[in-house]
């Protein structure tokens, strides 16, 4: 079972019948991206709807996700949910949905032995959804449970990451976990149907297909999906972000054995920008995900055994916690990216030290940059490593669509191209230009938070102790780290009961208001 069931619902469906209505060509042609591979026995569909949680209606936060669930975990006009499941089961085909911030992607995988029948169903789910009231109750329960039970109760690492996003993107459409409790509770089935009619349109739909499909299928899909209401794609305007001043800390309080920590700030750079690739090499050196290459991993875990892992990112990377993949996820693009550091849970008594250690390394990294040797080694690594990312057609298709989203060449090819001409000066300039170690948001998930908050606010020393002797180098560093001033913004450092997170219409905004009320 997926722990992030709400955001990555995997279904095993079967169907022998199903009808995809063929209609007239609309004025706005349906966008298609394809990778045809004659010998591939598996066919992958990635149908993107260019709408995500940023399109949620005020007071109905979560309506985009709920609509997506009603399609992927609902029936068709002809077949109820369980009939769909029963008919498609023998083919072990799957339909996944991931409603994200900017887009919602429906993924279908099927062996080509059953392509024809599967496509009829897959298309029918998207074009003729059933919107059954019983399915609505079930899906709403699932979505609410994800927020109220999973995130608030049983998944501290993702809780910390979402708390960081809510804090970084306060008063911005990105600043939610994809839904709120009150938004979901308020949403009716009629509103979902209306959202579907207005959002699942020819201008918003974007079909991706890869594998050994007959070429005629693409033309057929273009025609079939053109029955959707006519529209042109209009992106949601993204507002200016609030300035971060110093270290602004949110401590989320809940019962917890260990303390989860995330840090970050928005980043005005994406895959379309040349500097992104300079920053990619720098970030790999500092905190490559799930490897022992990064400075953070080696200093915090390798030298000190503080926790299980320590990584950094220059774009959204949501597959990190529960996904089996160690490579960048596909189809989670953002126009406004962010830099983040993920410290996996530490012993509570080491939390303050761990934050300081990460800040010590980050400040050093920005101040000193990389040496030529480090640059050459890391550039070579990223160049080779990135070639492992697109082993399957499904991932290649996902990267290709993401590249089109950003308006750039194929991602893995672009990495190869940019890295060839990259210089050490490019990288060190990019580090200083884009990474700001003085102004960051920090999200901490912890139990018994008052003492931690007090220690952070008073800049209290946080000496580190070890089970065994450690090197003089580490001890000398620890002396500096244990009293490192963090530049805490006391006015914007808050304790938030976990029950407040994900509750109201605009969490970032609401939290500020609640906090102010608390002071009164």
């Amino acid at each position: 079972m997926s722990k992030r069931a709400f955001f990555y619902i995997s279904l095993l469906f079967a169907l022998t019948t199903g009808f995809v209505g063929g209609g007239l060509h609309a004025k706005t042609p349906v966008r298609v991206t394809e990778i045809h591979s004659e010998n591939s026995p598996i066919v992958t569909f990635r149908v993107i709807i260019r709408a995500g949680s940023i399109n949620d209606i005020k007071g109905r936060e979560g309506i985009n996700a709920l609509t997506a669930l009603m399609i992927a975990q609902g029936g068709t006009k002809e077949l109820r949910y369980q009939e769909v499941a029963a008919k498609l089961y023998p083919w072990a085909a799957n339909v996944d949905v991931r409603p994200d911030k900017e887009i919602t992607v429906f993924v279908g995988n099927v062996h080509r032995d059953h392509l024809e029948k599967f496509y009829k169903l897959f298309g029918d789910l998207l074009l003729n959804p059933r919107f059954d009231p019983d399915d609505f109750t079930r899906n709403k329960d699932l979505a609410l449970s994800y927020l109220e039970k999973n995130l608030r109760g049983t998944d501290d690492e993702n809780l910390g990451k979402d708390a960081l996003i809510i804090s970084m993107f306060a008063n911005h459409p990105y600043g939610t976990a994809g839904a709120t409790v009150q938004g979901l509770k308020s949403t009716t089935l009629e509103e979902v149907k209306d959202y579907y009619r207005k959002t699942y349109t020819t201008g918003n739909v974007w079909i991706g297909i890869a594998g050994g499909y007959p070429r005629s299928l693409v033309t057929r899909m273009e025609k079939d999906f053109s029955v959707l209401p006519e529209s042109k794609f209009t992106p949601v305007a993204l507002p200016q972000l609030e300035k971060i001043e110093g270290l602004e800390v949110d401590v989320v309080e809940k019962p917890a054995r260990a303390t989860a920590i995330s840090l970050g700030h928005p980043l005005n750079i994406t895959r379309k920008d040349k500097d992104f690739y300079a920053l990619m090499v720098a970030n790999s050196y500092f905190g490559e995900h799930r490897t022992f290459n990064g400075v953070l991993m080696n200093r915090l875990r390798g030298d000190r055994g503080l926790n299980y892992g320590d990584y950094s990112y220059i774009e959204r990377f949501i597959g990190g916690v529960n996904s089996g993949s160690r490579f960048p996820d596909v189809n989670t693009p953002l126009r406004q990216q962010y830099f983040s550091i993920w410290l996996r849970p530490v012993q509570p008594e080491n939390a303050h030290f761990a934050i300081r250690a990460a800040m010590y390394e980050l400040s050093k990294f920005v101040a000193e940059g990389m040496t030529d040797e480090q640059f050459q080694q890391t550039r070579k690594f990223v160049s080779n490593y990135s070639k492992l990312w697109a082993q399957t057609l499904d991932r290649r298709l996902g990267y290709k669509m993401d590249s089109e989203f950003y308006g750039t060449d194929d991602y893995v090819d672009r990495i190869d191209k940019e890295l060839k001409t990259l210089t050490l000066a490019d990288v060190n300039t990019a580090i200083k230009k884009y990474i700001d170690p003085r102004n960051l948001k920090v999200a901490i998930v912890a139990d018994n938070v008052q003492s931690l908050k007090e220690a952070i606010l008073t800049n209290a020393p946080s000496p580190m102790t070890y089970a065994s002797s450690v090197s003089e180098r580490i001890l000398a560093e620890d002396k500096v780290i244990s009293v490192l001033p963090l530049g805490i913004n006391k006015a914007k450092t808050r304790v938030i009961p976990v029950s407040m997170l994900f509750e109201n219409e605009s969490p970032g905004h609401t939290l500020h208001r609640k906090d102010d009320e608390g002071k009164k």
């Binding site: 109760g153 260990a258 022992f292 892992g309 057609l393």
Partner: protein, 450 residues
């Protein structure tokens, strides 16, 4: 990963093996040729050509997992040792090892379970010899001091901590602890928390553990992708031939049959819905007996999304978020685990009774021929669709190597799936699913009224 079953018609293989002990895939369930050579010291060298141009997946399978942790107070050591294997040798220090992997752009990691520890590297095929140099060196010459050992113990505790907020870690701990008496499956692969806390004091034992288990006769190399078997064997002889066999003999105590039902109530402080876990003592894996394949089909009969139970509890009554069940293959008799998350604490009893009723029906009601065919088809295509890259294929083969030491088990067990009958399914339902043979863990949030 579980259930990778069936015959498939995959894409044509492009690589041709020159040394082909077993290259013929006709009448085989696994769609790729498996080449195997056993070196004089007992190390198995297995290759599977697969169309992944210029990429290989390189697994070293050690048939040692938490099952091997027979001494009291030392649970979790197989997993701990997996971490220590990244601490370097005299020839390649920890940093040198990482730098070499970095230079080839490799993805490199490891995992441990009940019956195996697997070290895996995904990299360019051109890096094969570099990988074999590095891997053979650490498997033969691992060297670390007590300081490094104690530091790594902190990372193990960190791994335990990162999993802790998910109640399933605690549920698994309690289920196993109550279900087993003396067998080492009593603890999870992470180990008992008290043993994890004591790990920093067990440096000497760690040296003994390496000496016992990191021996060629317990290991297999599984290489999938752009690989030539003859060249692989030549390199294996060059880098691994001096590896000496060990002498330790393992004696894992088998439990007597359980005589009465066991029950554990597990209160939980953080927000959660009630989770009911039921574990029945099932069979050990075998590639010649019908029990385990029949159990796998039974799990589909009872818990697939097309099952009566799923329809009733998830779709119609919407009493649970999910209900699922199955047994993971294991060398010794394992548990068939059932999990369900219940929306309202008041329905715990009703849900439990529905599960038990479905099991009772499976004992007396033969599955229809049509349903059986659907299940076999589902399993066949699940398997086919899972084998779409070199790493997934290597992992699948490693799974069977850990169980029997023979990669051909993959073909034998898949052959058995085709032969499972409705009577076989009823047979295992009657044989393993009695009240006296189960352990039950119920996790509820503190303060919930049931």
């Amino acid at each position: 990963m579980r259930r990778t079953v069936g015959t498939i018609t995959f894409c044509a293989l492009t690589a041709v093996s020159l040394v082909a002990e077993n290259p013929d895939t006709r009448n085989k369930e696994f769609p790729y040729p498996i080449h195997q050579t056993v070196l004089e010291n007992g190390l198995k060298v297995i290759s599977i050509p697969f169309d992944s141009p210029s990429i290989i997946s390189y697994y070293t399978v050690v048939r040692t997992g938490s099952r091997n942790e027979v001494e009291p107070g030392l649970s979790g050591f197989a997993h701990f040792f997996e971490h220590m294997m990244f601490r370097g040798t005299e020839k390649y220090s920890k940093d040198a090892y990482n730098e070499m992997l970095k230079s080839i752009g490799a993805d490199n990691n490891a995992f441990t379970s009940d019956d195996l520890t697997a070290y895996h590297t995904l990299a360019s095929a051109a890096a094969l010899e570099t990988i074999m140099d590095l891997e053979s060196d650490r498997f033969m010459n691992l060297k670390y001091d007590e300081e490094a050992f104690k530091t790594e113990a902190g990372a193990i505790l960190g791994e335990y901590n990162k999993n802790y907020s998910n109640p399933f870690q605690s549920i698994f701990e309690k289920l196993r602890e109550s279900a087993y008496e003396g067998h080492t499956y009593k603890h999870t692969t992470m180990g008992f928390l008290k043993d994890i806390m004591d790990m920093p004091n067990q440096y000497q034992y760690s040296l003994k553990f390496f000496d016992r288990w990191y021996r060629p006769e317990h290991c297999a190399l599984v290489v999938v992708g752009d690989v030539n078997h003859e060249r692989l064997v030549g390199l294996a002889r060059k880098y691994y031939a001096s590896w000496k066999r060990g002498s330790y003999t393992l004696n894992v105590p088998l439990d007597p049959p359980q005589s009465k039902e066991k029950y554990v109530a597990l209160p939980w402080k953080a927000q959660t819905l009630p989770i009911l876990a039921i574990g029945y003592h099932g069979p050990a894996f075998s590639d010649s007996k019908i029990d385990m394949p029949a159990m796998d089909l039974l799990s589909q009969v009872l818990f697939s999304q097309t099952s009566d139970l799923f329809r009733k509890l998830v779709i119609e009554e919407q009493a649970v978020e999910f209900v699922q069940g199955g047994q993971t293959d294991s060398r010794d008799p394992g548990l068939f685990n059932i999990f369900t998350r219940i929306k309202d604490p008041k329905n715990i009893g009703m849900v439990r009774d529905e599960i038990y009723s479905a099991i009772e029906r499976a004992k007396t009601t033969p599955v229809s021929a049509e349903k059986l065919a659907e299940i076999k088809s589902f399993m066949k295509y699940s398997f086919a669709m899972g084998l779409d890259n070199a790493d997934a294929i290597a992992r699948s083969v490693a799974h069977y190597v850990q169980l029997t030491g023979d990669p051909e088990s993959v073909n034998r067990v898949y052959g058995l799936y085709d032969s499972v009958t409705p009577e076989d399914i009823m047979m295992v339902a009657n044989k393993y699913f009695s009240a006296n043979n189960r352990a039950v863990v119920l996790l509820t949030m503190e303060g919930d009224k049931q």
